[in-house]
Symmetry: D2
Subunit: 417 residues, 4 copies
């Protein structure tokens, strides 16, 4: 085990730790830890809601999840010698649930959760069809997982960090705030919102306090979206063994990360689509001096995925095109196409006995593939979603004899309101 | 070899064949061939432009490609006993270039082509950056391919039909025409167009003639987009060994197919992104009676991919978010995110010596993966593109020593105009 | 299709063809065809028994199979400029059943066969347990296969040539004859024999005739074993896309090949374990001048397997150690260990309803993996065999509820004698 | 983390622990721990030589390695309710190096070793060619490893337990002793020996002491070979996620395990071929009552491998046949064939600059595949070995330009004697 540089005590909240992380992006959040290029280290990560979601059979916690508080990030890590224009090489040596803790009240202690977020509190990819809050608890056994809320399925998690990135420069941050503010201004009261403006409520900024806290909190970007610095990319393929190259925008790079996922399908479609957990990351960092220009990388991460992701060889796949449920023709809208592909998958799974919500929760967390299959054939793009057949304990292919009927069990808990 | 039911003579044009196929969708195009469920058969397929594109070092043919004439489809195949509401099972037993013909003037005779289409004649995924016409010729050697126009790369083709589907019912066709007409009406003079209306010019409708030809041609849908019947889905994963389930909308199903691709990456991003070719398909067909309702399949294809697609284990990947080149923030626009990911890949490849057009042509045709990685993190979706590193004959990973410099050779021909 | 340089007419026997191949190894068998380095060509291949095995429900043909007549090879191909000491690069561009012929009396015309050879006529890996002759016919549908004699299993063939190699020099041939003769001399009447001496009966030597035929036939090596020149290696991984490097022992290399297998598991354990067929090979040849010394290759083939072999991700595996059925301890005998692993697999499969012979025929032909897992742990080596679970249409894993019971159907035909 | 039931303190020797394991097989070694079916637990494992091998640049420790002391096993674990005739299901939930300890003097603390054992102390697969003792130290970084003694190679470990099994019954043990004694008696003074008789020196038998210790030590089987109970199978494919089914021979099953390998190629060819380490195993156990008869499993393990083993897609492969280096023809001897295949690989690698010993150490530890390709083609079997090309940081394929020359660095230390 590499040296633990960012410890978290599972019995304490995120702000009561010895080293306090952050949940906003800003160049002036002080570095929590300093490391040299060429070194390896371990960091603990807190689950994104800091313990607000419980291992029970109610979805009230999902309904009322404190969205202003996310994501509880570990960092910033100052990399010695890193300067704007460099590429920061981050090797994900290992990533997993909370080490040495197999049970307890915190997601990552042997279990995790997936939620369908209510339309008025977060929403999600299919929020018009699924406007209410639901939850599924997933139990870990080694690298496999099962759920009492979504029975008859078991799969190997494709474990990864949902969020990792470097700090923005002041100029880059200003650009984010300007462009996102402009978008919000087009429909400021939309539910769910178009984007999230800086927000003092719930802000955590490491060791900052007083006036400096207030200033930075008023400017700092929310962590929800991915941006030029990487951020909440939710790329399921950032598994153990992956090498990522991040652009460096500030001296020391100020690397931060968190939002660990035991597993997630392409798209993280239920919003909290992944199986959320706390845990640890073992990282190795290095630099390519001047690498942004040398390799033409001005934004977003380049990466080389690891080679131990779970392997499946048989799939059932669904396709969708860019026509709305109401029959309106959209122009090459791959988000809509992927929504349709996912809805087709959900409709299909319900024929075997799952509720639509169980099927949706399954798609969000299992190692499904979501591909942009056709993006040029006007006016319809074509998106496809692939589910590994081996994760089901019953035959899932279409046949002349019709779908096998499962017992869906207790189902996924739904919040009352 | 299964019995050849739809032959094509490579020395004759598509309309001079013994059996004439079609290039529009309409329920009244007469079936060309009748087959029983449970049987296998072979059909030849003509490349989508019927020989208009040549194996040379000019892109004039791409610039002037006759878009009204596409896609030259084989069929319709009437499946005995198929009725609306059934699912048609199509097993792709084999698919490949023109059998027994290794050289000649027709794409599929040992070679194929990829094109960047000019903005005023087709466009493409990145048409604002690449408004001019370019071409690359790819030579086949078994299942691998190389190009004099894109040197230092060699890969195993992920061979598949770009287009396959059943005929629409009259009601479904009317729905298509209504919704696509409504879209076109929002900006009827756009270049490239938002969608393609029915068009008599270039229509081929099998054995129809006279007034019936005129009536059907005036109503028939263009083959460019994928729709409820499958159609031009351009799913690269429909490789040999794949089982596809199509909804049946008309008696006999009226299956048609074509637009074979020697290889294509996710998205077919250069419009004619795949390596286009003529060739053959060996298919086996069967029915699940009443399967549309039994399995909840009302539209688009379900499929189970084959297990002999080319395997790669190391990848260099790029990510993108939904912010325009001009810095405008869009809301969860995965097409834009994928455009950005692809542009990042192109920028990267140019650092090794490729021209941007060479890089673009490479991305369109190589077995790249394009994933909808994050679709819920407002306001930015995250799309990712993965290029197998083993296809290059030089080291492609970032390193401290900087990018290896290749000789880009003659480059991809560009049309003069 | 590359130019067809070695045609075979399916209606004629191997010796009645326009170009006659050979079934012995000798440097003086004249080249049938000459090709330049850097060129591609097609050759037809005859199934190894030249049509003696029929598509029926009897195993009499296996019992009486003419072993002196094998293997009917295509070649020799003289490679211009090849000299002793060079490495001959052979790219397997494609390999498959008899093109354009889907039915007929010859294996490769849409079907193939697997046989258990009788102990007194060939034997096999488990001949003491399976001393009688059995047969299974396999029907091809694209690249998948099924058998009326081994029901409830369907798999993608891992298609390859069982036999390919260069001609030995006179000195090398003399060495073969000396060492194999010495082995035979230790037990000349053994059934099955320890090795096969040169044999005039059944010899086919291309265009040779008269005295020269007699001389060469009296010296020429049988084609049964693999040797320094490659030969009958039966490596299932020589699939389409593979590049093989053969040592060159005579001017022109004199490449020959045949014994095509639609599929075969590691070991080809039933002797005629593969699914035997005639068909075609598309090859590209080139030279590394002086490559034997440059790369330290003095014997046997080096190869780089293709990347389109069938992919499976779930396996049921069995292990074995080097103790005989009678309980005798052998010293690190991996053949015995692999026999035991295979017997364990057979015993297991019979619990589901298969006869032992069906299970044996299945293991010989399906794409199983056979690994030398431990070879140093005195006195027992450990060998393992892996069967892909997805090839069965019923659940094959052990469970508390016990094995699913299949209907074994008519079973595998057994020869009466 | 499941409950830790078998702890080891890295600062103490194996016999000084709170719970003492064992290094012999005997039914009367008392169970160390009792667990119920259906439960998960963690156990620590000591490296097989209990710390005798050091992280340095000398091979004296390999030369003098105390072979009587191996293997230091964790267990026996008594599974409640297990009876002879049952199948014990063991799920390998996780396996890895010593948790939370990244540096230190014990293999598994961030590093491991591979050794070539001297012919007079252990020997190995190629001991006639490599009679002297050599060592390579491998440093771990996440799941990848590199060695200062074998430079220019880096690979993902295929981590697994080399040894796991149930206790033999008294009758089974007697059978082992009888058959192995008979083998030893055929050449009792052979170096290395044919097998290892019971040996008091170095015996560790858990909590046994006094007369009972002496009795049991005098009867107990050595742990070197795999046997009916599983044991030292060295199956590299027993990776995380694997389910193994062991026969139960005694009440409680008495499961034991150890000899963890960070990585190993098929065959573990250098004897201590794997990268040896201490570490941990997380296991889940369950029973199939009466399963041995139900599934026909009387000996050796059945298993279903996990799906997260490292994936590679390009390989360079070598073949070998059963002719000795001196030219003697052996009869279907796959061990000899595999020796030849490995020697060809070694000879090849030396052309790039490696010493033969470096190449041998590489083959033993990297995730190579070793296949029994042909086992019936008298008189030569054909074995093949496959090395993933991506593990090298230089081009490893043969080419016209000849082999790239590496700097082999300090080389692998050799013991002086």
């Amino acid at each position: 085990m590499p040296e633990l540089l960012f410890p978290l005590d599972s019995t304490k909240s995120f702000t009561e730790q010895e080293i306090v992380g952050h949940n906003r992006w800003h160049p002036d959040i002080p570095a929590a830890v300093t490391v040299k290029p060429g070194t390896s280290f371990r960091a603990h990560c807190r689950e994104w809601f800091d313990g607000a979601i419980h291992n029970d059979d109610s979805a009230e916690d999902i309904l009322n999840a404190p969205l202003n508080n996310v994501h509880t990030l570990s960092g910033p890590f100052h990399i010695e010698g890193a300067e704007p224009g460099d590429l920061l090489i981050v090797d994900i040596l290992d990533v997993g649930p909370i080490p040495q803790e197999d049970s307890g009240p915190l997601a990552g202690q042997g279990w995790g959760y997936t939620g369908i977020f209510a339309k008025q509190n977060g929403g999600g990819f299919l929020t018009d069809r699924f406007p209410d809050a639901y939850k599924a608890i997933w139990d870990f056994s080694g690298q496999t997982t099962t759920s009492r809320h979504v029975p008859h399925v078991k799969y190997t998690g494709i474990t990864h960090p949902g969020l990792m990135g470097t700090a923005p420069s002041a100029a880059l941050l200003a650009k984010w705030n300007a462009r996102e503010g402009a978008l919000i201004a087009t429909d400021p009261n939309r539910v769910p919102p178009l984007a999230l403006a800086p927000e003092l409520d719930g802000a955590i900024l490491g060791s900052l306090s007083g006036d400096e806290f207030s200033r930075v909190a008023g400017e700092a970007a929310r962590t929800a979206p991915p941006r030029e610095n990487g951020g909440n990319q939710d790329i399921k393929n950032l598994t153990k063994g992956t090498r990522v190259f991040y652009p460096v925008f500030v001296p020391g790079a100020k690397l931060s990360f968190g939002d660990l996922h035991f597993s997630q399908g392409d798209g993280e479609i239920t919003f909290c689509g992944a199986i959320e957990m706390g845990g640890f990351m073992d990282l190795h960092v290095d630099l390519i001096k001047g690498g942004m220009d040398t390799y033409g990388v001005s934004e977003n991460a380049i990466f080389m995925p690891g080679n131990t992701a779970p392997q499946y060889s048989e799939w059932i796949a669904f396709s969708g095109i860019s026509v709305t449920v109401d029959g309106e023709q959209k122009y090459l809208d791959s988000d809509l196409s992927y929504q349709n592909a996912c809805m087709h998958a959900i409709d299909y799974l319900t024929k075997f006995g799952y509720s639509p919500e169980q099927a949706y929760l399954l798609l969000g967390s299992a190692p499904i593939e979501g591909r942009l299959s056709g993006v040029v054939d006007i006016p319809n793009s074509c998106a496809t979603v692939y589910i590994p057949t081996a994760i089901f304990d019953f035959p899932i292919a279409p046949s002349a004899s019709g779908p096998f009927q499962i017992d869906p069990g207790m189902g996924a808990p739904r919040a009352q309101f």
